[in-house]
Subunit: 257 residues, 2 copies
Amino acid sequence: MSVFDHAPPPVMVDRLQGVPFHKQKDSPLAKKLSTFIKLSGRELIELNQVYDKPRSFIAGRDLVRQGKFNQKFYILSDGWVCSYKIQPDGSRQIFDIQVPGDFLGLRNVLQRSSDVSFEPIVDISVAEIQIDDLFFAFDAVPRLATAFMRAMSRDEAVVAEHLINIGRRNADERMAHFFLELGARLTLIGVANKSGFDCPMTQYHIADALGLSAVHVNRVLRNLREQGLFTFRNGYVAFNDYNRLSDLAGFDPSYLN
Amino acid sequence: MSVFDHAPPPVMVDRLQGVPFHKQKDSPLAKKLSTFIKLSGRELIELNQVYDKPRSFIAGRDLVRQGKFNQKFYILSDGWVCSYKIQPDGSRQIFDIQVPGDFLGLRNVLQRSSDVSFEPIVDISVAEIQIDDLFFAFDAVPRLATAFMRAMSRDEAVVAEHLINIGRRNADERMAHFFLELGARLTLIGVANKSGFDCPMTQYHIADALGLSAVHVNRVLRNLREQGLFTFRNGYVAFNDYNRLSDLAGFDPSYLN
DNA sequence: CGAACGCTTGATGGCCATCAATCTCTGTGG
DNA sequence: CCACAGAGATTGATGGCCATCAAGCGTTCG
């Protein structure tokens, strides 16, 4: 259905296009942090020495946490993941979506984890990092720690904005805001623009992210489509009227960087 | 109404009781970080050299952000604060409550801030910290940076849990979970236990935190009171049946440390 | 080719927002 | 000392948004 279902996925291709050749060897971690502070040559060298083991996981099967005291986290290099928690009554709340370049499971290594789960929405590739390697790099170049904190801070801002979205907006506005935010985040990594983007989520994923029922998600999608605002079909999100959609959602992307 | 309205507030007294005398001079920052990692003598000395200027703010008047590139943040030493964002339609969503020991405005210095506001719920005292002083301490003792990251990570976990609360629970469960979490956090700093705690919030604050109307908050409070679960009156929260309340909310405090 | 998954649409009802009115309590100023 | 204003709390009436139940469709895949 979605272009994300097949290899080779277009994400890596798009990300590499237009990037100066001498930077293409930077690790996912170095790429991530250089979006927050400008890294010197020495800092880049130090970062690229943090060993990041490439790994893959298949869609739909949750990433398992290896015991309570995890020492590894990931940077998502390709594909989409959702972070969620199951309620006692069986309902699910997705509280964040990870797209390429995002941290994955970082909280599990920084604190005794709560029972958060991660579902790859499509087949994914990650770079696995030992937290101690990272701390070692921080010791060598303390400024890297501040870049890392900025990255963590942005993640928290995204979750906070998501909370506001669910707490004080109706279903139409939630939907609009959700896709506008996703679009803005994907634009930063070069795989979206104001006309739209590939989106591998199902309507069930969307429902669990927005705190709605899947049935109502379907109605809202139809409503917004019939209003000529945006269309989500066949794994593609098309912004038909970006400005009106932004007005509806009250979308202000300033928290994203 | 609440004991928080009058000086000297009981918080500092309680926190200091039972703490060895030689530690009573630790800065709020040192106290905060030592709840995440055990700090050595030298680390404590380094931390206590981070200058923290005591300041006060009065209830109800928002903390103003001093320009876009803020270099200061606070650690709340006494009182309660709520962090919120106003929607275009005028409604308000509180996404976090700060209690003594919590960071305040940290995100404003780590990233270009979105328009988050802070309202002191009662008169507050804070320790003001220059971010560069902190980074200087990180350079001297890199392990402090990791403690700081753990603290940030917990803050994000709290916001995520709040999101889940609003997304997938009905009004009764939200209310129960909200006060159970607050109780657990306050217990960690010694100003609450399983029988209850002082709470200076109004029903309007609660409504904005839970994404409900103030009218409905009132009805839910009455409902839970009549069920013998908990009582919120005259600035005091009383857990009348802590276990049944926990069951109702599906409360699992593991994410709090 | 049947089962599973995802999408779509209709019907019904409940939770909670909204409007409105009243009450208490506190602080303030004439 | 009392009148008054304002904040906060409380309760009733009405209605809308969205959950839930139910049924059916198309596509994919073993």
